[in-house]
């Protein structure tokens, strides 16, 4: 059953035109495939993270439920989906009008260029469409064998830990990993079965094989096992909690495989979470540039302005990544065109001179291409956010005022804004949590450490999460954190959740 179909006729001609413009501007992208589909299909795709096939799980049903309702009741509409693959697939909504299709296509070329060139995406698997489909097949088979409820329950537990990722893993290449693995293998003198891990198989498959190797080892005499268990849970600190569990948790092969699958998918999506502002900013910059300079017919100008403004709305409650992204890109372009940076500019005492500053440098375009290549949202904001920009964009921070019981504007100070924004972006908005000890108190308990940067964890959620972690680790689990300014270790021992004293 084909829910999407390739574009033909006028749309295909439009694609060729837009692609030509994009190339002329120097965008560098993977082959682009556009397909059209109806709103139900685009809701399905969006619910599945852009992919036509995923593993069976109610959470996709939940997202689908919300998207469909949002569409049916006129709350929201998705114009387009694009995914990071090679060739790059993008889906257009059939019901879009002509101007929408133009905007969307131009926007997609921006994303495609970003996927291909931004360094944080360099390690992502561009054949993810197939990988996701394979993951689906595998999990379906596990469901046939071990029961749908058992598998789904286990997936729920793993999803609970899905946000505990280490961004450095993104640059872990297979060859680096292999070398380390081999060294490790020699040191721990594990069974020689690991020798066959030498090709480009997916991380999930490897984790699977690794556990298999470990499982064989379990049959070895008991004494040896006792000995190796100590070596097995080294005091290595890692933020890659899922990876750690695959290695060291006492789980079945299929369970390790499922963790591997979810981990691989989580890392695949990670760069997108780390570059939301830049990615949307870049794509919006290009749809705006291509449309206003080339593709737009004068009769379409009002429709375009309306759509563009809709995407760029400013909200008092949240930062709109599209808006901040495009404005920062334009600001950088402007500053580098006029040489408004560096020692001379920064130390210039006259406001008047600064405003009129123009060295006719003309390196704006070049600079933003460079920026899109090497930055992520954090470094992007850290390096290019300026006081002028904050003022022009009317940025502010707000906080909860317990006295009035409402959220109020707190500050419009540059440093405060920057700190807040960076704080929100740090570790893609998630608390930083690392495995500190796999043999805590010498009792094979697991100790996680929350690296506290001023914001407490939600204790109820922490409680429930530890319960799920316990189900995987099968020994008491502990979380070291700071709560209301006090160091505390929360413990879940299988029965109750309590602070250790």
């Amino acid at each position: 059953m084909n829910r999407t179909k390739p574009i033909t006729g006028e749309l295909l001609a439009l694609k060729n035109t837009i692609e030509k413009y994009a190339l002329d501007y120097g965008l560098d992208f993977y082959p682009q495939i556009f397909e059209v589909c109806d709103y139900d299909t685009i809701n399905i795709l969006a619910a599945q993270g852009g992919f036509p096939t995923r593993y069976p799980h109610w959470k996709f049903g939940m997202d689908y439920d919300q998207l469909s309702k949002g569409y049916a009741y006129g709350l929201q509409k998705i114009y387009e989906m694009v995914i990071n693959t090679n060739p790059c697939y993008a889906y257009l909504l059939q019901a879009n009008n002509w101007v929408d299709q133009k905007i969307v296509m131009a926007h997609v070329y921006g994303h495609n260029d970003f996927f291909k060139n931004n360094a944080w995406f360099s390690g992502t698997n561009r054949k993810m469409m197939d990988v996701m489909a394979n993951h689906g097949t595998k999990i379906r088979r596990y469901m046939d064998r071990y029961g749908a409820d058992a598998v789904e329950t286990f997936i729920d537990k793993v999803l609970s830990l899905e946000n505990l990722l280490d961004i450095n893993e993104l640059f872990e290449t297979t060859s680096l990993k292999r070398r380390r693995q081999e060294l490790n293998d020699q040191e721990t003198a594990e069974s020689s079965d690991d020798g066959y891990l030498i090709d480009d198989r997916s991380a999930a498959l490897k984790s699977f094989m690794r556990t298999k190797a470990r499982a064989t080892k379990k049959d070895a005499p008991k004494e040896e096992e006792e000995e190796s268990l100590n070596a097995d849970k080294p005091h290595v600190k890692t933020k890659d909690v899922l990876g750690y569990l695959i290695q060291y948790a006492p789980i079945e092969e299929w369970q390790a495989d499922i963790i591997g699958i979810l981990r691989e998918e989580a890392y695949y999506f990670l760069p997108q979470r780390m570059t939301k502002i830049m990615n949307e900013g870049w794509a919006s910059y290009w749809h705006s540039t291509i449309m206003t300079q080339k593709a737009l017919d004068s009769s379409e100008i009002v429709d375009f302005a309306d759509k563009h403004a809709g995407v760029m709305y400013m909200s008092k409650q949240n930062i709109n990544p599209y808006k901040i992204g495009i404005e920062l890109m334009r600001d950088i372009e402007y500053r580098w065109n006029r040489g408004m940076f560096g020692k001379d500019y920064n130390e210039c005492p006259s406001m008047k001179d600064k405003l009129a500053w123009d060295t006719k440098l003309g390196k704006g375009r070049e600079k933003i291409f460079e920026v899109r290549k090497s930055h992520n949202d954090i470094s992007f904001i850290d390096e290019f956010l300026t006081p002028d920009f904050c003022e022009r964009q009317q940025l502010f921070t707000y906080k909860y005022n317990p006295r009035s019981g409402r959220y109020e504007i707190d500050s419009k100070d540059f440093q405060a804004i920057k700190q807040k924004l960076l704080g929100q972006l740090t570790n893609f908005g998630q608390p930083i949590i690392e495995v500190e000890d796999g043999n805590f108190m010498n009792r094979k308990e697991l100790l996680l450490n929350h690296i506290h940067y001023g914001v407490d964890l939600d204790v109820n959620f922490a409680n429930e999460t530890l319960r799920n972690l316990f189900a995987i680790w099968r020994r008491p689990v502990n979380l070291k954190t700071k709560y209301e300014d006090k160091e505390v270790i929360f413990n879940f021992d299988g029965k109750e959740f309590k602070p250790l004293t």
Binding site: V82, K316, N318, I319, I324, T397, S411, N468
Partner: protein
């Protein structure tokens, strides 16, 4: 074959309803249910399941925004805890443009019906209430342009052209002139309707606090909404009682707070009088609702109530509904007495316990889920 996501979807709906995967039930949140906000604006219910994760406690966190204002100015609306930049893992989707929806009460009732899977009510009795309606089923030669019937107009023009031999099949152009114009016209019809009356009874004795009344108020809003969508004309009567009962208007119903004892039979008696006087059970669909915290003065009075139900109220009603609102002072005894007498499966009587505000939707479903 349907897309596999429909299975995921069905599974999600079952989990939300608590039919499968009981271990997930505690993570289900019913999202923002539909709440009336001035000028008929509503939010749509979005049940969801929150998978627990390590995450920041939010209130202390605050956020960032963009727009005019000085320090100390309120940030309008509530912070959306999921809306921080960098969250959400889907691919890049452009333009999730949020719109304010304005829903009519009819649409709202439809959404309620869909969400709670409420069956349409099958009215009892014959259609007895006359009502006059205008329907545009006729065609006339005069009328406003906005009602012009294009097809009929062109048909007429074609007829005329053929009759006057002005029509040329080689060059089939049909041009209507003034007297060809046809307009939609209304016909007046008398339709027979089912009539319904809702009689709300509420215990306003000392043990019913503001919170309990708020629950009753919200619940009756939704019940009225649904019944109004099912019956064209609906009468609503309100009775409050402590040890004595009296009929009041809507405003008083929700605002009165009495003290003192509780004799539920007083309300039932008044209800009986109202029905006898104004609503012939053969012509009306009757829906008595009674809300209390379950306290009654004495077992004798409870006995009296049960007799009243048996002898009069149950035989004449479509569905007698008893909603027990949990309160700190109430004993909840009346619910037990009703259950002991009628059991859970009685056709004519529906009982529901309402723990708190979150329980309202469930209880509405219990009341209206029978389709009567």
């Amino acid at each position: 074959m349907d897309h596999p996501i429909k299975r995921d979807h069905a599974r999600f709906r079952k989990i939300v309803k608590g039919r499968i995967r009981d271990n997930l039930r505690k993570y289900v949140s019913h999202g923002s249910q539909i709440i009336p906000k001035g000028n008929d604006k509503f939010t749509v219910p979005m049940p969801s399941i929150d998978i627990p994760r390590f995450k920041f406690g939010d209130k202390s966190q605050g956020g960032m925004g963009q727009g005019q204002g000085e320090a100390g100015d309120p940030v309008d609306g509530q912070q959306d805890p999921n809306g921080q930049p960098g969250q959400g893992e889907s691919g890049e989707g452009e333009g999730n443009k949020e719109l304010d929806v304005e829903l009519s009460l009819d649409e709202l009732a439809r959404i309620l019906g869909e969400e709670l899977e409420l069956p349409n009510i099958e009215p009892k009795g014959k259609e007895s209430l006359k009502s006059v309606v205008n329907r545009y089923t006729n065609i006339g030669t005069t009328g406003p342009d906005s009602l012009r019937h294009l097809r009929r107009t062109y048909k007429q023009a074609l007829k005329r052209q053929i009759a006057t031999e002005a029509y040329d099949p080689e060059n089939p152009s049909v041009v209507p002139i003034r007297r060809d114009f046809r307009y939609r016209a209304s016909d007046t019809k008398v339709e027979m309707q089912n009539a319904a009356v809702v009689i709300y009874m509420m215990d306003v004795s000392g043990s019913m606090g503001d919170e309990q009344k708020e629950i009753v108020r919200t619940e009756s809003f939704w019940i009225n909404l649904w019944l109004k969508s099912q019956y064209k004309d609906i009468a609503i009567r309100y009775i409050i009682h402590d040890a004595t009962a009296k009929e009041v208007d809507e405003h008083t119903f929700f605002r009165t707070r009495e003290s003192g004892g509780t004799l539920i039979s007083s309300a039932f008696n008044l209800c009986k009088e109202i029905i006898e006087k104004d609503y012939n059970p053969n012509e009306w669909n009757i829906y008595p609702f009674h809300f209390s915290d379950g306290d009654n003065w004495s077992a004798d009075d409870t006995k009296l109530c049960l007799d009243l139900l048996d002898d009069f109220i149950l035989p004449v009603s479509n569905n007698f509904c008893y909603g027990q609102v949990e309160s700190r002072y109430g004993s909840g005894q009346f619910y037990k007495d009703l259950t002991a007498k009628y059991g859970a499966g009685n056709e004519k009587i529906t009982m529901s316990k309402i723990k708190n505000k979150e329980g309202i939707l469930d209880s509405i479903k219990e009341f209206l889920g029978k389709g009567k």
